[in-house]
Amino acid sequence: MTEKTILVADDETHILAVVSLKLRNAGFTVLTARDGQEALEMAQANQPDLLITDYHMPQLSGIELCQRLKQDPATAGIPAIMLTARGYQLEPADTEQSGILRMLSKPFSPRQLLTTVNEVLEQYPRVAA
């Protein structure tokens, strides 16, 4: 089985570092981006199997990033998990319009995040463009 690639986008360095470490320790290849625009470019260039993004980011918010990825047929199949400190509730429209499948509230448990990642990858395998 090939190693899955996960793109993590967050402007909080510490969060980015801890999520990356947790995922790397679990055997994933991790790419990191510190704002929405950088994440968009990396997703288009690297076609990751999953995107974990913060809600509030400079340049492009998490929602905008997911919508842009969803609009592009090349990246529309990338499933997304959103981390948020805003207490935002996931609506069915978010999944439909942005491809966001799960929402985790900050503060979150890295353990729970890993479980969610495995579930999403199992239930929604990356559809190749």
């Binding site: 402007d11 909080e12 510490h14 969060i15 570092a17 801890v18 999520v19 470490l21 947790k22 320790n25 510190r34 509030h56 400079p58 340049q59 400190a85 805003r86 207490g87 509230s105 900050k106 503060p107 979150f108 448990s109 890295p110 353990r111």
Partner: protein, 491 residues
């Protein structure tokens, strides 16, 4: 002596004498007058006398009746003392009857006068009450509109006129749809009148485009019904009468500001929760990683401990700042103002900040006024404000830059001006108006340094709310920023 019966008696006596003379007296001729006989003469005389007394009685009665009529005409119902004198025995009952009638009329007029006075008093009270109610309605800040059953404007206050842009003086008794240019408001009034609701009130939120701009109102509508009919029906044993509505009262309470405050509170709570969750998220994640043994080597573990400590400190600073701002805003902070020199405070803050500046190889420069220029200020708060400005300057100045602290006294305005300038990244013009807002962070410089978005807000509160001074900022992207404040010199 009564003349009427006497004359009647004489008249009857003469008639009887005449008749007796006619039948009993001998037919004796009178000497010298051959054709005239004595009996006929006596009889004729008696009849003539009877006729004369009868005539006298009639004339006397007529004169008395005429005099009575004149007195009746001259009678005044207002004159309590005058009583009618019959002046003729036969007219006395009539005079009594007229006197009685006149007395009754007098009493009736007296009662009517009393009633008129009562009504005048009631009218005065009602007028005063109406003026009182109107002055209350005119003085309240809420807009009030009162309409009648025909949807005509009966009453409107100044506030209503301002809200709906019409002239109070000319709007009275005009149909509401001619006075108001707000179809929704007209519809609300008409609907309320048609609903004929006697007890219910309707409260709706309504946006009005006033001359001052769009505003949100809480409109309370209620029907005004006929108060007299309602009271009568309410009395025990009264026959229920249909109570017709006489109009509608609409009271509009401007809740624009309240909504803004509520939104600000929501935003504040949302921002606070976001800012608290962010460091807490790091702490929780790193602690869990340590517990799960994900940090395998000592170096990583040490890094994790440091992150936890830094994030805990960040959380603590954030809570301190929130509490400080909140205390200043609510006026709960104890302010201990005393004459002090800004130069001394700035020097203390420079000493504290110098290790951080040295780490980034930033040069600290100063151009301060002599120590004898003093300002009346709370030492701890002013120190906090100056330190926050220095801390920001160090954060947003790249390595090798410089920071200059300068104070200048304006003797004419009796103020001391403090300027803290850096050669940092600067703030884009679009962000400048908002840099003192709570939780506002300049997106372009977000990566340059961590911050709570509360430091500058706290400085503004300390300078402007606590010390009644003025804060200002000047900036040029790529060249640097100057934050400064003006405080009054101590007398």
């Amino acid at each position: 002596m009564r003349r009427g019966p006497v004359l009647l008696f004489i008249c009857l006596l003469m008639l009887c004498g005449g008749i007796a003379a006619l039948y009993t007296a001998p037919q004796i001729p009178i000497r010298g007058l051959q054709d005239v006989q004595l009996d006929r003469l006596i009889c004729g005389s008696c009849f003539a006398l009877a006729a004369l007394t009868g005539m006298m009685g009639i004339v006397s009665f007529r004169v008395a009746a005429f005099k009575l009529a004149r007195r009746v005409t001259a009678l005044s119902v207002t004159d309590r003392k005058t009583l009618l004198d019959a002046n003729h025995p036969d007219l006395a009952p009539l005079a009594f009857a007229i006197n009685d009638l006149t007395e009754q009329a007098r009493q009736f007029v007296e009662r009517a006068k009393l009633r008129v006075k009562e009504l005048e008093i009631q009218l005065k009270v009602a007028t005063a009450e109406r003026q009182h109610a109107e002055s209350i309605i005119y003085s309240i800040s809420d807009a009030v509109l009162v309409t009648d059953p025909f949807d005509e404007l009966v009453l409107a206050n100044e506030s209503a006129a301002r809200t709906f842009d019409f002239d109070v003086a000319t709007a009275s008794r005009k149909p509401v749809n001619q006075v108001l240019r707000d179809p929704k408001m007209i519809e609300l009034i008409q609907e309320m009148r048609q609903s004929n609701s006697r007890s219910g009130r309707r409260i709706v939120e309504h946006q009005v485009r006033t001359p001052q701009g769009g505003r949100t109102f809480k409109v309370t509508l209620s029907c005004v019904s006929d108060g007299a009919a309602a009271t009568a029906t309410a009395l025990p044993g009264a026959v229920p009468q249909p109570v017709l509505p006489t109009g509608v009262v609409a009271v509009l309470h401007d809740m624009t500001k309240e909504k803004e405050v509520a939104e600000m509170k929501n935003d504040f709570v949302s921002s606070v929760s976001h800012e608290l969750r962010t460091p807490l998220a790091s702490i929780k994640a790193y602690v869990e990683m340590l517990i799960d043994g994900e940090a395998t080597d000592d170096k990583t573990q040490a890094e994790f401990y440091e992150v936890i400590q830094n994030e805990a400190n960040r959380l603590s600073r954030l809570i301190d700042n929130i509490l400080n701002i909140s205390r200043i805003e609510s006026g709960l902070t104890k302010v201990n103002k005393q004459p002090l020199s800004l130069m001394v405070i700035i020097k203390e803050a420079l000493e504290v900040i110098s290790p951080q500046a040295a780490n980034k190889n930033i040069t600290l420069k100063e151009a301060l006024t002599p120590v004898f220029y003093q300002t009346l200020a709370d030492r701890d708060m002013l120190y906090q404000a100056v330190l926050n400005l220095f801390s920001n300057a160090v954060k947003y100045t790249p390595e090798g830059g410089s920071i200059t602290a300068e104070t200048r006294v304006d003797e004419a305005k009796k103020i001391v001006i403090t300027r803290i300038s850096d050669t940092g990244v600067g703030i884009p013009p679009k962000d400048l108006p908002f840099v003192f807002d709570k939780f506002y962070r300049c997106e372009a410089n977000n990566r340059m340094a961590k911050g709570t978005g509360l430091g500058l807000s706290l400085v503004k509160q300390i300078i402007e709310v606590v010390h009644k001074g003025r804060i200002f900022v000047e900036s040029s992207v790529g060249k640097g920023s100057t934050f400064g404040f003006e405080l009054k010199l101590a007398e």
